[in-house]
């Protein structure tokens, strides 16, 4: 993503995508994006919100206070329980955007009590990058993405 590194910093680009509400509410924050599916139990540390799975793209990074953008859930049925405990520990994501609906992620999003959306009109993984500012207005089915200015190689 540093291909346009030579162009001068431009005004922030904002993209609006519509999608389906999974859990209602509205939240905004910095995006944390991964193309890897996420495990709950055995995949995250519920005390600090970091991804702990070996060979995971986000290993060592925390979703606390971020907008987590990911393909979906995998692994153990402890998925919801771990996102539930992350919420009780104050380290749950601010909101979630994902592509593939499963029982794990539906229940996990419900008990994380964070706004969540899916079925966006375009693939969020192709549009949202880590560091972008994202507003998830699940009640109205709208995601607003403000691209992080990328003035040069970071």
């Amino acid at each position: 993503m540093s291909a346009d590194g030579s162009s001068p910093p431009a005004a922030p680009v904002t993209i609006v995508l519509r999608g389906r509400k999974v859990v209602g509410g509205c939240a905004e924050g910095e995006a944390l994006v991964t193309r890897d599916t996420i495990s709950g139990w055995g995949g995250i540390n519920e005390r600090d919100g970091t991804v702990i799975e070996r060979r995971h793209e986000l290993r060592g990074q925390s979703f606390k206070d971020r907008i987590l953008v990911f393909p979906g859930a995998k692994g153990s049925s402890g998925w919801s329980a771990y996102f539930h405990m992350a919420r009780l520990n104050g380290v749950a994501p601010k909101a979630m955007i994902f592509n593939k609906m499963t029982t794990k992620i539906a229940l996990g999003a419900v008990v994380a009590r964070a706004p969540a959306m899916t079925e966006l009109e375009q693939d969020p993984l192709a549009i949202i990058e880590t560091g972008d500012w994202v507003k998830v207005d699940a009640d109205n089915g709208v995601v607003e993405i403000t691209k992080r200015p990328r003035g040069g190689p970071s």
């Binding site: 998925w79 499963t102 029982t103």
Partner: protein, 424 residues
């Protein structure tokens, strides 16, 4: 979501606060899924026990508070009535008799026992195993269930032909009190048909080989539905138990078919049920090696701890381990834990298998496993196991490194203290 009059009366609180909270959770969950309605279930397998340090604070407020928060996602504490559906406790964190061997503090063991008494008196059957189907909960084909435990879910769907999604702590807690679960996913016949054809080109026979095949496939198909073709001797409970557990760890496999073996696939054609084959996956020597190398992250051949029994061992597996150990002694540097459901431990005791294992210096444990309890022998850095699932999760959860191999290789490692396994 469309609700029946009975469901509405539960939601409205006419049948008590606990059921109202349970229905509230089921409605929020069902709407998140996009489900149109709920379905009746009379077979729930969940996780209710208060057995971890993180539950300590909640448990001080009483077990109604534990159930209300962790099993119903309820902001108010409700009094937990008797379960409406047949319900069992899956694997838990503490061995009720050998918690000190695990290194669990006495107060936590006591907390679990008090929780069991409380929930037991409300009808939750304390099987305390990840394999309820090994100890009497064997749903029939087409039965609607609400099960947790990914390895049990895939066994329930694929091998038994019963119907469950991968439920969680909160949805099973709500299902147990209402006898309802969202009608979505694997409850619906059309969603149970195959999507991927798997061409198994090499011989797959023992549980290690079924584990490798499952581990490779899970990563490739994720949560799609593989249909396996190849030549094998008819696989049995323990092989399919390991296969499913592995595929549900590296990926999210909840359903598969093996034509002529599993109940919803008398033929390859029936397995796909008219679905277009989305992709064909080949599994040969190269793929087997990839799975093996992904599972073996250890480099130090000195083995501190050998773990056998994830998912929990059947009695035949305990007998095999006992036979391999008979008349031998473990290395003084290595510990061995053999895990089996409490009900089967009773049989192992009666048969003398437990004695054969303890005489060699090992322990026979029940109710838990190291990945769930996060407890292993003190100072463990290198683990050997015959379980792809445990080899996948232990490094992430506890920071150890793992060797994965056959049960024979693992027993040899326990005796010599060294890993001499390898891919033949």
């Amino acid at each position: 979501m469309k609700l029946t009059d009975h469901e509405k009366s539960m939601l409205d609180g006419a049948q008590g606060r606990a059921k109202a909270r349970a229905m509230d959770l089921l409605v929020r969950y069902g709407e998140a899924l996009g489900a149109e309605r709920l379905i009746e279930t009379n077979n729930v397998a969940g996780a209710f026990n208060a057995s971890t340090p993180s539950v300590r604070e909640l448990a001080r407020k009483g077990f109604d508070a534990v159930y209300s928060e962790l099993n119903l996602d309820s902001p108010e504490v409700v009094e937990v009535p008797r379960m409406v559906a047949n319900t069992c406790q899956l694997i838990t964190g503490i061995d009720n008799e050998q918690w000190r061997v695990q290194g669990i503090p006495d107060d936590l063991a006591d907390q679990q026992k008090r929780a069991e008494k409380y929930f037991g008196a409300r009808g939750i059957n304390m099987f305390a195993t990840c394999t309820p189907y090994q100890v009497g909960n064997v749903p029939v084909k087409g039965e609607h269930c609400a099960w947790m435990e990914s390895s049990a879910v895939v066994y329930c769907n694929a091998v038994l032909g019963a119907r469950t999604n991968t439920e969680g702590k909160e949805s099973t807690g709500a299902a147990a009190l209402t006898g309802r679960i969202p009608y979505w996913g694997y409850h619906i016949p059309e969603n149970r048909r195959g999507t991927h054809l798997v061409d198994v080109g090499i011989e797959v026979d023992d549980i290690m080989e079924w584990g490798l095949l499952g581990y490779y496939l899970g990563e490739i198909v994720d949560d799609e539905i593989p249909v396996l073709t190849g030549s094998w001797r008819s696989p049995n409970l323990i092989k399919l138990k390991h296969f499913g557990a592995a595929a549900a760890s590296s990926g999210g496999v909840e359903m598969y078919h093996i034509p002529d073996v599993t109940p919803e696939a008398r033929s390859l054609e029936q397995a796909f049920g008219g679905n277009r084959i989305r992709a064909t996956v080949r599994y040969g020597a190269a793929e087997r090696r990839i799975a093996y190398e992904n599972l073996n992250c250890a480099t130090d051949r000195n083995v501190d701890f050998v773990m056998l029994g994830c998912p929990h061992n059947s009695i035949d597996q305990v007998w095999l381990i006992a036979s391999l150990l008979e008349g031998r002694k473990l290395s003084p540097n290595t510990e061995l834990w053999v895990h089996t459901p409490r009900a089967l431990r009773e049989v192992a005791d009666r048969n003398g298998y437990t004695r054969m294992i303890t005489d060699a210096g090992g322990f026979v444990m029940s109710d838990t496993c190291p990945a769930i309890s996060r407890h292993m022998p003190k100072g463990t850095k290198v683990v050997a196991t015959d379980s792809a699932k445990q080899a996948h999760y232990l490094p992430a959860i506890t920071g150890v490194s793992t060797w994965f191999g056959s049960v024979q290789e693992c027993v040899e490692a326990a005796i010599t203290g060294r890993w001499n396994g390898g891919l033949q």
